[in-house]
Subunit: 332 residues, 2 copies
């Protein structure tokens, strides 16, 4: 099947998911709560996790209709983490719109997040599958991992000495596990064999890692218009990204001193955010970490698509491969 | 069976539940997260919801061991709501100890709440029962109701005109539904018939209402030492309790003006908290609302225990009756 056709089918899937998500908000809820839920769910997004879940289900012989509720559930859970993480990180913008705690307040954002998680389970439980217990177990494991990952993130945020190994531990919990869970749940619903489930989990795991490093990279080389957020935001906040930690490992001399200041959130009082972004981006370029990040992404993507060889050869499996490459080629 | 024996068995059940709860905290979690979870789960409490769940299971022929995981799950979910509600209400104390967002910060409290909910599902999913889907569905309905109830609470909090009907709508979602869900899930696990389930739901519903009005009453007539919180706290905060709303309905003249000021959170600048508590308590006494609250509690408790006639006559059913009366006789 051709790329254009995959693109069309992806558009179709996204519309299906968006419609299902919109249908889950009840209209008799307290007004701020309902408006907050609609604000979050109408903001769009790539629907990466649900698309992967549905395609994984189809790759092993299942149908879209069987996986749609679980797909919507995973998007709900993902949005729950975004709303709560945005409170914790005090983020003001998400997908080009104010975050919930900015548009309303922390109380409403807290509650909107909690309700998103409740609706996620409600929706997941509508799934018709042989082993619902296992599906809900996996979903819950994913929830706990992503929360723990956020806990690790909060714990390393104020630390001066953070290594790439800490970073991978964190993103494995925050991103890779959730994507691996999406592909595995899709497989379970589609009736995958144990070997196919293992392949799907491996695929999701490496794709999740690649996806997160790509996210870090886009903060440096992306375009604001397409990302819906300000470029260099991670640098301004001194976030411990793949690029920063890799640069700290490699850089020497004055560049190393500048990066050490970034790690301790000290910075120079005379630095404007713009100058800070330029200075750090230049260091990244000088020490080749942008290229290293690209290689890391390629390596993990290859491992991910390699795992697809354990699945039946069909249109959905080809589309999973196409989708993986689309994700890691985003605007970079 | 005698009262002393019920008291002993209740003590035994509480220890079983406390031990199960303590066993659910993992030790490889980020430190603040783990300490926060232990802080919450070691604070004790009456374990009302889990005790009701387990006794309901036994009343229809089930065993304690079959209901213990679901009981622990319900306590976890209850504690999740407490931790998040305490952030929203900016409460500083709970069960005589600092709340999580006070002892740590809002970020950790947010995350501790989220993880409590995740562990709740994890624990619930260990339940061996004929219809796990229905058990998890009920649990999720309860979660959504309690969140919506908190939404209603936040929405009516700044309003001047709140009626008793608003109040009952709120507590039905925040308290009665959760207790009705506990007894219903217990029944499901114990293999209850449809009629028995209906009786258990009705029992929990009315007991939950009685329990909440009793909670409001204890703020006025309770003892700090036994409650672990300051008496008159609701009055100082201008919380819309059963007593305040009933007094607003009935009082006339100057008393009505004082209560109207309370409803709008204005108060008099010269009022110390102590004087405010005394003034409002005196109004409650003058207009007989303390007595009215007691009657309301008795009426709902009678409806609750009346519903128990739909259950088999056995020790567990008798203990449910004993426990209901114990709950609404707390120190008042």
């Amino acid at each position: 099947m051709k790329e254009g056709s995959f693109q069309q089918r992806y558009g179709h899937l996204r519309r299906l998911i968006d419609r299902r998500l919109a249908s889950l908000v009840k209209h008799d809820q307290p007004r701020d709560l309902r408006d907050g839920l609609e604000h979050v769910l109408s903001a769009g997004g790539k629907r990466v996790r649900s698309t992967l879940l549905i395609l994984s289900c189809k790759a092993v012989g299942g149908r879209t209709v069987d996986a749609l509720n679980a797909g919507a559930a995973i998007e709900m859970m993902h949005n729950f983490t975004l709303v709560h993480d945005d409170i914790m990180d005090n983020a003001v913008e998400r997908r080009g719109r104010p975050t919930v705690h900015i548009k309303w307040d922390v109380n409403n954002a807290l509650l909107v997040g909690d309700v998103l998680l409740g609706i996620a389970y409600e929706c997941l439980l509508k799934t018709r599958t042989r082993d619902l217990r296992r599906v809900v177990e996996l979903f819950t494991e994913g929830l706990l991992e992503v929360c723990e990952g956020q806990g690790v993130d909060l714990a390393i945020e104020p630390k001066r000495h953070v290594t790439l190994s800490d970073y991978f531990k964190m993103i494995e919990k925050k991103t890779a596990r959730m994507i691996g869970m999406s592909t595995e749940i899709g497989g379970l619903i589609g009736g995958a064999t144990a070997r196919q489930l293992q392949a799907l989990r491996k695929f999701g795991h490496y794709l999740g890692r690649a996806f997160q490093v790509q996210d870090d990279l886009l903060d440096v080389v992306g375009e604001k218009r397409r990302l819906g957020k300000t470029i260099g935001g991670d640098i301004v906040e001194g976030k411990k990204t793949y690029l920063l930690l890799k640069a700290v490992e490699g850089a020497r001399g004055k560049d190393r001193t500048v990066l050490a200041r970034m790690m301790s959130h000290a910075g120079s009082a005379s630095d404007t955010p713009r100058r800070k972004v330029k200075a750090v981006t230049d260091i990244y370029k000088r020490w080749g970490v942008i290229e290293t990040a690209r290689q890391q992404i390629q390596r993990d993507t290859r491992k991910a698509t390699g795992a697809l060889s354990g699945l039946p050869k069909n249109d959905a499996t080809s589309m999973l491969c196409w989708f993986s490459e689309l994700l890691v080629k985003r605007v970079s």
